[in-house]
């Protein structure tokens, strides 16, 4: 009996010690939370999901979910706004004293290039699409996003564009190749602003040509046209800006909302949205337009709204009945109602901007394509219950109207640079109105030259 027991034990030992020589197979484990790159880029369904993600990345708080808007409004702030928040990054924007380690600047850069790479992945693998319409649409959307990011990165990281001279000032590196393999990594140098803007126009023109007139909440033909109008205006190419804006007004099917409030804080796109970033309560990245601009009870941060509106701003409204003059609420400080809803979509290109572009361009070119400048301006004023102009208007009136209409929507710095306006007493082409190349980037890529003044 005892001998038997020992024999059993010995058999068990032999079995135990041999059984694991064959468990090498156990070392191959497939991830359950992730898909392999090869699998992802081989089907059009998956590429569509990358493109969808590229919209989400662009909408993240770092970029169009608040970061770029905040940079433009605070750097372009000449006293209309007050920064009450605790974050150092925006405080540096407001003070016009950015440091290369500014986290908001780094986020704008990193997130922007993440969108560009996702767009590049889609564009580089278009051959997997079998439906030519779908292929054309997806290429158009990818180029819309890529063009958009290059446009804003170009404007933020370089000296102002000069319509009448070569723009050899350094902007940002242009990368058009998808990076999914570490062996293709490069350390690119910065391209000039001319090169960057040429790329923007090429991409957006492609997008304009390839996109359908209607495309759910994604970019469509008129989103691209409207963005092109914005780009041409920035480049001082008023005829093209005017024509694009005119086409959008005539053909996009978009219409101004019945009142000013109708254009904002909507859960789904309004009739005047040519393009809007979608926000839901389930998003991973919060809407920083709301976080920094709204009162505490509406999703903003404690205390004052981080960005409060100062009396100086209120002086631009010329009619107390103007809905825009009353589009504010008290939340310890004065807050704009534009970003009141925590989960409302972010209106990004509104039809109202097209009227302003057409009016300004027509005025500058002394033309009346579509209609006269005064008529466009009055269209906007009527919508907001402001008294219409009866006599001839000048450029200053048009630009003031532009400010009334588009305040806090991210135009402040770019308009100052475009129009040659001082910010407070700082000249429009000053070093400190240009973002520094993020320190992280100059550390990781020695081919990048830092901007003057940093």
């Amino acid at each position: 009996m005892i001998m038997n027991n020992y024999r059993t034990i010995q058999t068990v030992i032999v079995l135990l010690s041999l059984s694991f020589w064959g468990c090498n197979d156990n070392l191959t484990i497939d991830p359950e939370q992730y898909l392999n790159t090869e699998k992802v880029i081989s089907t059009s369904e998956n590429l569509n999901k990358i493109l969808n993600n590229a919209y989400g990345t662009a909408r993240a708080s770092s970029s169009y979910g608040g970061g770029i808007n905040l940079a433009s409004e605070l750097i372009g702030n000449g006293g209309d706004l007050s920064w009450n928040g605790t974050y150092v990054g925006p405080a540096e924007f407001n003070e016009k004293a950015m440091l290369p380690d500014n986290g908001f600047v780094e986020d704008i850069w990193m997130n922007g290039y993440s969108v560009i790479n996702q767009a590049n992945i889609v564009i580089e693998n278009l051959e997997v699409y079998t439906d030519p319409d779908e292929k054309s649409t997806k290429e158009g959307e990818a180029k819309f996003l890529r063009g958009l990011i290059y446009f804003d990165l170009g404007r933020l990281f370089s000296k102002p564009f000069n319509a009448s001279a070569p723009n050899t000032q350094l902007a940002v590196p242009i990368t058009l190749a998808a990076v999914i393999d570490p062996y293709t990594l490069e350390s690119p140098a910065r391209n000039t602003l001319d090169e960057v803007f040429n790329r923007v126009v090429t991409d957006l023109t492609d997008a304009y040509n390839k996109l359908p007139a209607s495309n759910s909440f994604y970019a469509n033909k008129y989103s691209a046209a409207a963005l092109l109008a914005r780009v041409y205006l920035d480049m001082g190419m008023y005829d093209k800006a005017r024509d694009m804006a005119d086409e959008v007004i005539r053909e996009s099917g978009a219409s101004l909302t019945g009142d000013f409030a109708g254009a904002f804080n909507n859960d789904s796109n309004s009739s005047e949205n040519l393009f809007a970033w979608q926000v839901t309560s389930q998003d991973v990245s919060i809407n920083d337009n709301n976080t920094f601009w709204a009162g505490r009870d509406f999703g903003g941060r404690s205390g004052n709204p981080d960005v409060s509106i100062e009396d100086q701003h209120l002086e631009i409204y010329d009619d107390p009945n103007d809905q825009r003059a009353n589009f504010f609420y008290q939340a310890r400080g004065m807050a704009t109602t534009k970003w009141k809803s925590q989960f409302g979509n972010i209106s990004f290109i509104r039809l109202a901007e097209m009227y302003l572009i057409r009016a300004e361009s027509n005025f500058r070119l002394s033309t009346s394509i579509g209609t006269t400048p005064i008529s466009d301006i009055n269209t906007l004023r009527m919508r907001s219950s402001a008294a219409t102009y009866l006599i001839a208007i000048d450029l200053e009136t048009i630009l003031k109207e532009r400010k009334r209409e588009l305040a806090f929507e991210g135009f402040a710095l770019f308009d100052a640079k475009r129009l040659g306006n001082e910010v407070g007493s700082i000249p429009h082409n000053a070093n400190n109105l240009v973002l520094p190349i993020p320190q992280r980037e100059t550390d990781a890529n020695t081919n990048l030259v830092q901007n003057d003044g940093y």
């Binding site: 392999n36 790479n117 999914i180 309560s281 205390g303 890529n445």
Partner: protein, 1004 residues
């Protein structure tokens, strides 16, 4: 009593008669605490005759006067007694905790005398009854070359144990923890950025001993996970003899080791009024006017008459409270040993609202089925409940309250509801009033084994271990908190991590004729670790009393995850000793892991060591002075596999945009990813002098790590921020010195001291892609890892109060330009310190006198610095409206003022940029722990049938000597707790606790 005297009397009478003849000798053998020992071997020297003690420690033997009786018992020093006239010989045996101490190794044990490795060994005496909730905390200062630091003063906070420096940049820096042969789960399961200590659920009082394997020779048997050292934990087991019941109960209180001086209301008004005047002119009274900003802050109270002066620091750092109770029952006979214990710890932290409560149980059993077959089970269960706080970077963490203005009252006029109406920032009291964050951790660790002797000398052992760590996090923020806009927010996160481990190995032991000893261990190990998590979040609650997601009006987020990794390993070790003098050891381990690319899945980790016990040589053996002299040298290879489970694959992860599905680029592939390899050379000398009254060790090591697993930052233009690659190498080297002395050894008075000193030099030796800079820390070839890299502050311009910086531009000769400039962008960053100490020391003393025992440990670290990332807010000459440290009152005011604090300019930058202004040396010496005990005399306790009663006082961190002006030289930013590069940064980081407890031990 009477009988004994009579017996003794007769014995003496008869002794003369029976002289030189064999007679009966009897007696009792007890241990140092008076407990009878069962199974003590007693033999007459140079004969075959002998006996053993019985259950009550009694023995009897026939021996003749002049014979020598040898008493021996495992774990005790053998005693020799020459038989004289007496017939009763009572013997007290003392525990042998010296050179023949048995050291636990990976997969075996060895007598310390024959060990050729560098292993620090810490016994239960040294760690029990130190009232800290974490096992690691009790080890601080006890072992040379081991730095242990809790990130900051939150009770559950992560602990960093650094054994012989930092051997990696991006891979895991944590040692491998092994409990009774089972590698422990040691993953941080914190749902926030601030890490939690994964070992918080272990009860330190269950630990018998801890061995820290420091050199490659000892750690290489753990191959791919040996680089950061291995911590072997052995839990308590019953001892042969009478069943022992021990009760320990302690209770005490705690407070912050340090507080910082902040401005009071009057000083705040003075400084900010001046700062505003400097920025906007003295005529702009926006702060002080009626209805101005100060009135806003004061929320209706009159700051002008001193109606409000809030000390926010006192609201955040409170008096803590500690309770620790434990009971254990242990004992056994020749066949079975057992240990059962239960423990309860309740720690209320010094940071308001932070508590920990732990219930733990352990049951260990070891049973001999036969002479050849042994089985056993070690098991433990624990439940830990932690009330957590936000990270150092959240307004809801208490210590961020120091940023609030002293003009803001903490509560509304009712004195109950926190004031969140007029504070500059979110009031943390609101989070505690209207929110909660509870974490429950359930941990089960089981390890069962069977050992069988196949033939004499050849044993087979099979161990099956299982470790389960389940954690549930429940967070709620009500309608008054930062989640007001969504009418409340709640989430719940559940994690189940488990690991099973199978070890099978043979041990062959043989003594060859002529005093040659051979031991060979060979076997395999398989380990599988998996982790699952579930998360759900919802907003919109009908009432603040309904705090679970069940009541949410909208589910806003949810996720579940699964992941897994495996290790398959084969190992072997041979030790050979010749004539008890020459020692040889070699080991090899072959490790495979699912974490690596298919082409580099396996790694080979060899090690070898030699030892020479010189004191066994004739030329020293005779010496009266030298009792031990042993030379050791070892060389070996270890690895580091502490990377993500799928780090070699190119991956995309599920995401969403507008509630439609999306795929997000997650990771670049790297098929060539392989193990990080560390080769370590160690040379050492163990010594003992004057009959081992003075013993010690001297070691030098040099540790080279190659193929570093590096998260290399990529140019962001690629769309990626980093990739894990095998690039670069680094080196750690240092001296370690241990000296133990027995200063006084007398019957009723003993005093022993133990000193350990260690140096550390860390250098990045190769970094092909150049510098890695992360925040304030730099990794650069030729420098210490994570060196501070900031602009150098040059003080204040006496003429205008501008902050100045040294430009420090390099000229052609490599010299730094020491010109001062007020233009920050003109100043270059320089290396200005390191977050790691270059010299560490620990000094422990144990004194016992009659019934008193007294021990204390001093610990010190030198050479490290801390950068205060919050400095720009806290000590920023009133740039932001945050309250300021008192030293900011020394600001520049008038031309000619000489000060280091620039002119106060509200909302205008003047010296708040990152610079050495906020970098400080953090050298310190600390009275880490102190304990004083009194044991009641036996004759009193025995009246109550109690073996021992001891009353004690213990203190932790009672004294700290440092010039560091921040909260504490050991408290750092918990958001960076899991960062390998961003080190030594403080940001509203709470100091550790200073704890006082009074306790009672009772042994029945």
């Amino acid at each position: 009593m009477k009988i004994n005297i009579l017996f003794l009397f007769t014995s003496i009478l008869f002794s003369s008669v029976t002289m030189a003849q064999e007679k009966d000798i009897s007696g009792v053998v007890k241990d140092g605490e008076g407990i009878p020992l069962l199974g003590v071997n007693i033999i007459i020297e140079n004969t075959q005759s002998g006996t053993q003690t019985d259950f009550d420690g009694n023995y009897s033997i026939k021996a003749a006067p002049g014979n020598v009786l040898v008493y021996s018992f495992v774990g005790f020093k053998p005693r020799k007694i020459t038989v004289g006239q007496e017939s009763t010989i009572n013997v007290t045996m003392t525990v042998d905790n010296e050179l023949d101490e048995v050291i636990v190794l990976g997969f075996g044990k060895q007598s310390k005398r024959k060990v050729t490795d560098n292993i620090a060994s810490i016994s239960s005496d040294e760690i029990n009854q130190i009232p800290v909730a974490s096992m690691q905390g009790a080890l601080t200062g006890k072992a040379a070359g081991v730095q242990i630091q809790q990130i900051n003063g939150k009770v559950e906070g992560g602990v960093k144990m650094r054994i012989r420096g930092i051997s990696t940049i991006s891979s895991s820096q944590e040692p491998l923890y092994v409990i009774d042969g089972l590698p422990l789960i040691n993953d941080d399961e914190s749902v926030s950025e601030a890490p939690m200590n994964p070992l918080i659920s272990l009860n330190p009082n269950d630990i018998e001993s801890i061995q820290i394997l420091k050199d490659a020779s000892s750690a290489a048997i753990y191959g791919a996970r040996g680089t950061n050292g291995v911590v072997l934990i052995t839990t308590k087991q019953g001892k042969l003899g009478k069943t022992k019941i021990s009760v320990n109960t302690a209770t005490g209180w705690s407070e912050a080791t340090n507080k910082v001086d902040w401005l009071n209301a009057e000083q705040y008004v003075e400084l900010f009024t001046e700062a505003s005047a400097n920025s906007y002119g003295a005529d702009d009274l926006w702060l002080t006017e009626q209805g101005g900003y100060f009135d806003d802050m004061a929320n209706g109270l009159d700051w002008r008459t001193g109606e409000v002066d809030t000390d926010w620091q006192d609201l955040a750092l409170v008096k803590g409270y500690v309770q620790d109770h434990g009971i254990s029952v242990s004992g056994g006979n020749e066949k079975t040993l057992f240990y059962i214990s239960g423990g309860y710890n309740n720690t209320e932290g010094i940071v308001r609202g932070n508590t920990l409560e732990r219930y733990s149980y352990r049951g260990n059993i070891d049973h001999r089925v036969s002479d050849r077959f042994r089985v056993g089970l070690n098991s433990s269960l624990s439940k830990t409940h932690v009330k957590r706080l936000g990270t150092d970077n959240s307004f809801s963490t208490p210590l961020q309250a120091i940023a609030q203005s002293p003009l803001s009252p903490p509560y509304l006029s009712d004195g109950i509801v926190p004031n969140n109406e007029s504070t500059i920032y979110y009031n943390f009291l609101m989070q505690q009033y209207n929110g909660s964050w509870n974490v429950n951790i359930f941990r089960a660790i089981m390890n069962t084994y069977a050992e069988y002797e196949i033939i004499p000398g050849l044993r087979f052992k099979s161990e099956i271990g299982y470790d389960n760590n389940s954690q549930l996090d429940e967070y709620f923020a009500g309608s008054l908190t930062e989640s007001a806009s969504t009418n409340g927010y709640a989430d719940a996160t559940s994690v189940q991590a488990d690991k099973y481990n199978l070890n099978n190995y043979f041990t062959y032991n043989r003594e060859f004729i002529g005093n040659y000893d051979l031991e060979v261990v060979a076997g395999m190990s398989f380990e599988e670790s998996s982790r699952k998590s579930q998360y759900v979040a919802g907003t919109g609650y009908p009432s603040d009393d309904l705090q679970t997601v069940d009541s949410a009006s909208e589910i806003t987020a949810g996720s579940t995850t699964r992941t897994k990794y495996n290790f398959l390993s084969y190992f072997s070790r041979a030790t050979f000793s010749i004539l008890d003098k020459y020692l040889l050891k070699g080991s090899i381990r072959y490790d495979g892991s699912s974490r690596f690319g298919a082409s580099n899945r396996y790694g080979l980790f060899p090690a070898a060591s030699v030892g020479w016990i010189m004191s066994e040589e004739e030329f020293i053996k005779a010496s009266e002075v030298v009792s031990l002299l042993k030379f050791r040298a070892s060389y070996g290879v270890t690895g580091n596999a502490g990377i993500d489970n799928f780090a070699s694959l190119g991956l995309f992860r599920g995401a969403a945009y507008n509630k439609t599905s999306a795929l997000n680029p997650y990771q670049l592939p790297n098929k060539d990813l392989k193990w990080e390899r560390t080769t370590q050379f160690d040379v050492g000398l163990d010594f003992g002098f004057f009959n081992n009254k003075l013993t010690g060790e001297i070691d030098y090591y040099i540790k080279n790590t190659n193929d570093l697993l590096l998260n290399e930052p990529l140019p962001g233009t690629s769309g990626w921020s980093s990739i894990t690659r095998n690039v670069g190498s680094l080196e750690n080297s240092g001296f370690e010195f241990v000296l133990n002395t027995k200063n006084i050894v007398q019957e009723n008075l003993s005093w022993t001291s133990s000193l350990n000193l260690s140096t550390l030099k860390n250098e990045v030796t190769s970094l092909p892609k150049g510098d890695i800079i992360s925040g304030r820390n730099l990794v650069r070839e030729g420098e210490t890892i994570s060196s501070f890299y900031v602009v150098e502050y040059a003080g204040v311009d006496p003429d205008n109060g501008d902050a100045l910086f040294y430009t420090n531009t390099l000229d052609a000769n490599g010299n730094r330009d020491r010109t001062k400039t007020s233009d920050y962008s003109q100043a270059e960053r320089v290396i200005a310190g390191s977050p790691y100490p270059t010299f560490m020391a620990g000094f422990t003393n144990n004194i016992s006198a009659y019934n008193f025992d007294f021990s204390f440990t001093f610990q010190g670290e030198w050479g490290a610095s801390i950068y205060n990332e919050g400095g720009k807010f806290q000590s920023g000459n009133a740039r932001y409206e945050d309250n300021q440290t008192l030293d900011q009152m020394n600001r520049w005011q008038n031309p000619g003022d000489i000060t280091m604090v620039p002119q106060a300019r509200m909302y205008s930058t003047n010296g708040q940029q990152a610079s050495t202004r906020y970098l400080e040396k953090s050298d310190f010496v600390r009275l880490r722990n102190l304990s004083l005990g009194y044991t009641l005399p036996k004759d009193i306790t025995q009246k109550f049938s109690v073996d021992r009663v001891r009353i004690y006082f213990t203190g932790v961190n009672l004294l700290t000597f440092t010039d560091y002006s921040g909260y504490d030289p050991e408290s750092t930013y918990d958001n960076y707790g899991n960062s390998n590069i961003q080190k030594g940064v403080a940001f509203y980081s709470a100091p550790p606790a200073k704890t006082y407890t009074i306790g009672l031990n009772i042994d029945l």
